[in-house]
Symmetry: C2
Subunit: 427 residues, 2 copies
């Protein structure tokens, strides 16, 4: 290992199983574990995955045992012949296997409480490496265990996500926090959510952050069409870490201005929802090209029924007229993808719903339907507010229908956010 | 490495990025790559993940270079300072970086075709290790590259899943197949998409598949709320592999019946769309608790404007009346979450849109709004067809608003699918 600049405890994670190795199953466990370990101040430096092969499994356990302080292993604790974790752990630690009385009691207890018969293969699960400490599984049959291999404390957990999560919380995190004792480092992350620039343009605007704030690390995470600017800092003193992050966040805001729509990780629809609630206002949406996505996002927010009244996804032109009252004559003259149509849709749905605000989308998500004058990626957005209605036209194209829909929907919400905050509109 | 029983080509996969290391993002790329490599007959023996730290990244590239024949790396190709893959690859291979003319041309072409201005940081993406072969990226700005490090051929791809998938198919798999030459085994996967059982119940129904079809491996993949049954087979003879899979798929269909909605990997909304198209029928949707998700899914299908006319997301009760014509008296008597209301919403939106079919949802997605009689997870689904309108009530609860919305929306589409195919409805 060349990199050895880490102070404190470093951890690795190992996912095992043929379904992981072959990609039949996406390993979500490792991400869950990494997030939880980072939160208690343990730096996860490496993720690993191998199949159910005894030699490989034993070898990688030894390898990690020579490198890390802590390792959480998932999978391979079940009753079948390809469940090899206990065997491999014993081999790697150079000890034998024995039937663990506490593990056996835990398994018998599980079956007794559920009134289920126990078949003999279940007893295999009580065979643990000598010297291992059993970790009870309150929600499944396979107990886990803790064992030192080399310089590293290993925690072996089941691969079933909800069993793993429960045992991580009940057994692993408390033991790790005890291990850390006074030795803990504070780690904090601050997330600024932005919309309106690509990842690379966002990165360019933030050039120089590293020199200004040497203790703060920058990460950009594209959650299309949103860009998250993540600021990471760590240290012994909580107040100083928080102060460093606050100062860096202020600097980022200075560079990105009102492209930042949240500094608490809220998605755009929650920001808009909060603004509606603060103003005691209500909202109606008319969608064409976004096909219901604006409405779907808005209603992901719990409590959105307090301000969200209606969305009309008027995909066919004649329902734009019959439901929203858009004029047939304007439709014939301008076509459906036009700023005036978007404006009239927004006004129409606002009136229909009796809402304070109306927003509307009409555009061409593709792959078909574009023309020279209105290519795929054209979107018109309408905004109706008390006393005024406006239409805008924008052009994006990400080459995929679903990405275009997301971009269009986000832009519509951003137009509304800017209106509610009295900000200038961006192109 | 103790295990060295593998013949043929062995591969590893490396996912990079702080969001992978810290668990902020679940790495789905590695599973996708593993599956595709296994399909062309390359055995994936190990998965790896590290963050954006130059030393660690360089070290792990050297390590894999001493172990594997093939490695696919994802992430770290972007324009920002924390995109380190090219630098680390050059260091690991002991070569320098240079601006690659082919890479630069590819990036410029991308921007030209989209009429977007190029900012200077973009040029960083054309800095490749000397001796690397550029891999064009037709759907994004960051080109990939191929480079030998140690005994291993590395393929560096972007971390954005759809860019990665496209480049894997276009560049990596053909090159690997050429490498393998005549050495190949045929591997095939068959996917049956199911809805209506949990993963574990689906697995129980398929108990015995292994004994019946010893050459076929079973994998279950939960893509909530859909379960994919994956059948894997391999062998020297293509026709025999295909036959084994077909027979196993027939057996699975026998066990799961009409819970299987696709045997070609189509999502539910595409299946429903195909059925609408075949019948020359049109569709309108009224949504309450699903908040636009049914409509959003339906319009993810390109060409859906041929049959999809209107969705009315009537979140407020009074717009159920004013827009859909649901009787105020019925609403007052039954409450909004009732099979009769769902039925009347479906009929109302069908009439409003002049569509052949109408479907509707009304329920309680949570977290608030439940009662003893109608707990969170209650959903009523309405179906209006020529000559009849019906309402159903179901109960699910997954403890999360967004999961409940997905389950409700899928159930509504499945009710329509069953109607269109003349199948019995399930509870």
């Amino acid at each position: 290992m060349e990199a050895n600049s880490d102070v404190g405890v470093t951890a690795e994670i190992l996912a095992t199983g043929e379904e992981i190795r072959t990609g039949a199953l996406v390993d979500s466990n490792s991400g869950t574990i990494a997030e939880q370990l980072e939160l208690v101040g343990v730096k996860v430096v490496r993720l690993n995955g191998v199949g159910d092969e005894l030699n490989r499994l034993t070898a990688i356990l030894k390898e990690i045992g020579s490198r890390a302080n802590v390792c959480v292993v998932t999978g391979g604790l079940g009753p079948t012949v390809d469940d090899l974790s206990a065997r491999a752990a014993a081999d790697a630690a150079g000890v034998g296997l024995h039937p663990d009385p506490a593990a056996l009691a835990s398994i018998e207890d599980f079956f007794r409480r559920r009134n289920r018969p126990m078949n003999p293969s279940i007893h295999k699960q009580a065979l643990l490496p000598i010297g291992a400490e059993v970790l009870f599984n309150p929600v499944g049959t396979a107990p886990g265990f803790q064992l030192r291999i080399g310089r590293c404390g290993f925690f072996f957990l089941p691969g079933v996500p909800f069993e793993m999560k429960r045992m991580l919380a009940d057994h692993v995190l408390p033991r790790i926090e005890r291990m850390l004792g006074g030795f803990r480092e504070v780690r904090r992350i601050k997330t600024l959510s932005c919309f309106g620039l690509t990842e690379s343009l966002t990165g360019e605007r933030l050039d120089g952050l590293g020199e200004q704030f040497p203790g703060v690390q920058l990460g950009l995470r594209a959650r299309f069409p949103e860009i998250q600017v993540k600021l990471y800092a760590s240290g012994a003193d909580e107040a100083r870490v928080a102060e460093a992050l606050d100062q860096a966040a202020g600097w980022v805001r200075g560079r990105l201005g009102d492209l930042v729509f949240s500094d608490s990780g809220e998605p755009m629809e929650a920001v808009v929802g909060r603004l509606m609630r603060e103003r005691n206002a209500s909202l109606a949406v008319a969608e064409s090209c976004t096909g219901g996505l604006v409405s779907h996002w808005l209603t992901e927010v719990a409590g959105s029924s307090d301000y969200f009244r209606l969305a009309a996804v008027t995909y066919a032109n004649d329902v734009k007229t019959s439901v929203l009252g858009v004029s047939e004559e304007t439709l014939a003259r301008c076509g459906a993808v036009h700023a005036d149509i978007a404006r009239d849709m927004a006004e129409g749905v606002r009136r229909l719903a009796g809402a304070t605000y109306g927003i509307a989308t009409s555009g061409i998500a593709g792959p078909a339907g574009g023309s020279a004058e209105k290519p795929v990626g054209t979107v018109c957005i309408g905004l109706a507010a008390p006393g005024q209605a406006l239409g805008y036209r924008f052009q994006f194209n990400y080459g995929r229908r679903s990405m275009n829909k997301q971009m269009f929907a986000m832009k519509a919400l951003d137009v509304l956010r800017r209106e509610l905050l009295g900000l200038a509109h961006t192109s």
